[in-house]
Structures are given as C-alpha cells and as structure tokens.
C-alpha cells in the first residue's frame, strides 16, 4: 500500500523537479506514439471505412481476422518486427532497430487492427439512410468517406483514443525493438518495467502516474475540442 502513496509523492517530485530521465522518457513516449498513431490512422481509417461500408464476399472472414489481430501480444509483434529489421533481417539496412521509428513501426502493427475494427464498427453503426443521402446530395468517393467519418465522429474518436491508450501503454514491442536504451529509446513504459524489475515499485507507480497524467491531459484536451465543435 505504501507504494501507492509513495508513488504519488514521487510522481509529483519527478515532474516538479524536472527530473531529466523522466522527461526524456516522456518525450520519447510522445514521439513514438505520435508516429505510430499517425501512421495507424492513415492506414487504418480508410481500411476500416471500407470494411464497414462495402459488402463483399469474405467480408465477415476478413472481419474475424482483423478482430483476431486485436489479440496480438506486444512481444510477438516485437519479435516479428525484430526479425525483419535486425541486422540479419531483410530490412536490416534501414537501421531501424533501437530507434524511435522502429518502435513506432512495431506499434503501428499493433494498433492498426484496433483502428480498423473500431472504425468499421463505427461506420456499420451509422444510420442506413446516410450512405444514400450522401450519394443523393452528390458526394462521391473520398467525400463519402469523409462525411461518413464525420457522422460517426464520436465512435471514430474513441477508436483513436483506444488505439492511443494501447500504444502509449504497451511495453513488449518498445522493449524488444527500442531496447530500452536510456536517453534514447527508453519510454515511460519500458522505464516502468525496468524500475519494477529492480524492485523499485514506488518508482514504477510514480512513472505510471506520470503516464496517466499525460493521457488525462490529452483526453481533457480532446474533451474541450469536442465541446468547441458541437456547442
């Protein structure tokens, strides 16, 4: 129990004292998740739209596979990506191992299924009259996608928030691909894993609180943006 209390104190201390190791990890986490979220949205939202909007044979099977990928363990993603970008791997030349883009690539694989699946559900949950109405009003191609996503904005937003939560909290792939290298690829979560492994439970909790504060800040920001859009 003490850990929790001490963890709170320590979290405040770390943040207030401007502890450089903590801030380095915070910024690394932010860089990694910004990259991975951006790329997973670019890939996942259009795919999710198509999966939700169009009817095609095998759609249900594709859906089941995407849903299965929600159960991808982070370590396995780490292993797979590692196999490709390790020096001996086919993409070893790129030098992605132990770099932030490398971690982001692994996280993208991890969270894109979430974006696809939840976006598809958001689109499927839309009123069946929407699609016809958009076409009747003259929307075509990309305009239909954009307008449908706007109609489903809250559900799509939650897809993003869920994916974000998964990315910022995952540790297996960051550890495996990033290597948890201090001052370079150490993220908040790999730092937590490290401190916990050392038996520094209070510090682990403190870092967890730092991470949650970050997420809370972003969510409140989102809340205000939402309120601004819809009075």
């Amino acid at each position: 129990m003490d850990y929790i209390f001490n963890g709170f104190l320590k979290a405040v201390e770390l943040l207030a004292s401007g502890n450089p190791e903590t801030y380095s990890a915070v910024f690394t986490s932010l860089k990694v998740t910004s990259l991975s979220i951006a790329s997973s949205l670019i890939v996942g939202i259009p795919l999710g739209f198509m999966l939700g909007y169009f009817d095609f044979t095998g759609k249900r099977q594709v859906r089941a596979v995407v849903d299965t990928l929600l159960a991808l363990p982070t370590v396995v993603v780490g292993l797979l990506v590692y196999a490709f970008i390790s020096r001996r791997g086919p993409m070893g030349e790129l030098g992605l191992l132990f770099t932030i883009p490398g971690i982001a690539a692994a996280q993208t694989i991890l969270i894109t299924p979430i974006v696809i699946s939840l976006t598809a559900t958001a689109i499927e949950s839309l009123d069946r009259r929407l699609g016809m109405t958009l076409i009747a009003l003259g929307a075509r191609g990309r305009q239909i996608i954009v307008a449908s996503l706007l109609e489903a904005r809250y559900a799509v937003l939650i897809a993003v928030v869920t994916a974000y939560g998964r990315a910022i909290s995952e540790v297996g792939a960051s550890m495996m691909i990033g290597g948890n290298i201090k001052w370079h690829t150490r993220t908040i979560t790999t730092a937590i894993a490290l401190e916990t492994g050392k038996g520094e439970f209070a510090l682990g909790i403190a870092l967890g609180i730092v991470l949650l504060s970050l997420a809370l800040f972003l969510n409140f920001l989102l809340m205000f943006l939402k309120r601004r859009r819809i009075a």
């Binding site: 016809m132 109405t133 009747a136 009003l137 003259g138 929307a139 109609e151």
Partner: protein
C-alpha cells in the same frame, strides 16, 4: 418544353429476396415533364424512385438516361439527379451545413450564404431562425423541409421526391408546391414525385402513374371492400357492414379477398331508386368532392357505414344532381362490378 425522352427503361427488374419484384417492361419519361407516382404501401414506389435516381442498380434490364447507359463513374450525369427520401436523413450538422453540403461537394463555393438563404426561403424556413440550428433542434416537418431545401439548392435537372409532404403542414405543402412549380418553369426541371396525397399530387404533376405489387398501372383510383364474404343462398356473397346493411358481390375467389370497385362503376342518385337490376343500393353522405384537373372530372367520396366509397362523375352530372358535401345520396353498383386481385 422538349419531349425527347429523358429516361427510357427497358425490361427493368429489381428484387428484394423472393418476396418482392418490381418489373418495368418499358417506361419513358420526357424531359421537363412532371410525373406523379402513387399506389398502396409496399407497391414499389420508393424502389422505382431509387432506380430512377441511380441509387440502386436494376438486377436486369437497362435504364437509359438522355439516351445513354449510365455507369457508376458517370458522376457528372448522376449529380444532375437528386432524390429526397421518404424518411429524410439530416447530416449531424447545422441546418446551414446540411443545406450547403451539396454545393460544397460540387465545389461551388460562390455565394453559398445567399443560396442557402434562398433555398430555406423556398421551403418557408426563415434563414435567421433556422440556419444555425443543429440537426436535432427541429420539428418533424421542419426537418423534412430542410432536407428538401438541401435538394432544391442544387438546381438539379431531375428532382425526385418521395412523399415530400408527409409531415409538412398545409401552408408549407402549398409553398413547396409553388417552389417546385417555379423551379420547373425556370430551369425546365424534370420532376418525379411519389405521394399518397392524390389531390396534392394532381396539383404538381401532369400525369400520375400507379405502382402496385411491383407493376406499373395507369392511375385509376379504386374502392376497396375487404372481406369476409359470406356465401348466401341466391349464389351471391355478402359482406356485412357495421350498421347491418350488406354489400353483395359475385363469386369472390376467397372468403377474405378484397374486392375492388372502380369509381366509374358507381352510379350516384339523389333519390332512392327502385326497380333497378343493380344488387347494391346504398345510402350514404357525401364527405368530399374533388376536382381532378388532369382528368377534368369530379371525384366524390361518400361515407357508407364504415366505408368511404369514391365515385367518378362528370362536372355536368354533379351540377345536374346539385350535389354538395353533406348531402345524402344513394350509390348504385352491380354485384358483378367487383374485380378481385
């Protein structure tokens, strides 16, 4: 106005599972014309309108538009056609954004405010009151009119309306009527409207067709007399009315079959006639008389017990008999006049 056919349908078939099939062996709609579509619920009106707006593709057959087959990628063509659905859907945006949406997707960015103001005016919604409202801050009829405004603003070549006045008040129905008419005059818009309100329909359209059980029929209103039909000794079948009177019919195919009686087959008398061969002589009260402009005839509705029967008369006959709403009349028709579907 031109009379070159804008639409030509050849052997068009559309199906929902195995319970409904719309079949249009051939149909041509002249450019600039105004066509009404009526018919019972589930007849296939909406389905036909969806085909004509290229929202749905026929399973079989072809729809020629402007003499051409339309493919999905012919956006410039399909964008000239717009349809207002029976249950309009508003985008989750403000009224302004709803009405302006069609212009925006067409990249017509000039003068949007003025155009939106104009379109809202056409449907009787003051811009200052409604433009900033959210989609859910509207009454049923207001929402329907916003949806209509979002179509009118497009100045479409073909305007297809499915029950545009369903929950619209009478003033607004009039307004919409005017708007649509002035539209046709200004732009030569072709108009296709489905409605159950035959009177309203006849004021906006040049001709009316009927869609029943997925088949086009010429419009000819009919009276329906539902069963049960009880077999009687003299070979006739009778249906008991709620006040104890009976309607007699010849050989209905089933006990519960509905009989159809054409309004032209009913004779109206102002005194109780005697010595007539017709089996049915029913006293009733005139409830409504309507002048049908397309046919230059008067349709008269009379209530007979729980039924409302419609009779078609010439203007001369109405004048001669001095008929007026509220007057007592006798309706005469033969037991053999019934048709069974």
């Amino acid at each position: 106005m031109e009379s070159r056919p804008l639409y030509e349908l050849a052997d068009v078939v559309y199906r929902y599972g195995d319970h409904f099939e719309l079949a249009v062996p051939n149909l041509s709609i002249p450019a600039g014309s105004s066509i009404g579509v009526t018919g019972p619920n589930g007849g296939g009106k909406t389905t036909l309108l969806k085909l004509l707006s290229f929202i749905e593709k026929p399973y079989k057959g072809t729809i020629f538009f402007d003499g051409r087959r339309i493919r999905e990628q012919d956006h410039h063509v399909t964008r000239e056609i717009t349809i207002l659905f029976q249950e309009p859907y508003l985008l989750k945006r403000t009224v302004f954004d709803n009405v302006a949406y069609g212009l925006k997707v067409r990249n017509e960015r000039g003068n949007i405010t003025a155009k939106v103001r104009g379109a809202l005016n056409l449907v009787g919604l003051p811009y200052t009151v409604f433009a900033k409202r959210q989609w859910f801050e509207l009454s049923g009829g207001e929402a329907q009119r916003v949806a209509l405004a979002s179509r009118l603003i497009l100045n479409p070549r073909v305007l297809i309306l499915d029950e545009p006045t369903a929950s619209v008040d009478q003033e607004s129905a009039l307004l919409i009527n005017e708007a649509v008419r002035s539209f046709r005059e200004k732009y030569g818009t072709t108009l296709i409207v489905a409605s159950h309100d035959r009177i309203w329909l006849s004021t906006v359209t040049d001709s009316i067709m009927k869609v029943r059980k997925g088949r086009l029929e010429s419009f000819d209103p009919e009276n329906l007399i539902p069963g049960p039909w009880i077999h009687t000794d003299n070979g006739l079948h009778t249906k008991a009315l709620s006040d104890g009177r009976h309607i007699k019919a010849l050989s209905p195919p089933g006990k519960q079959t509905t009989g159809y009686l054409r309004p032209a087959d009913i004779v109206v008398a102002t005194n109780c006639p005697s010595d007539l061969s017709t089996q049915n002589i029913l006293e009733g009260i005139i409830t409504q008389m309507t002048f049908e402009n397309n046919e230059k005839a008067v349709f008269l509705s009379a209530s007979v017990a729980e039924l409302s029967l419609s009779c078609k008369l010439t203007q001369a006959a109405v004048e001669k008999l001095r008929l007026f709403p509220g007057k007592k009349v006798w309706l005469l028709f033969k037991a053999s006049s019934f048709r069974w579907h």
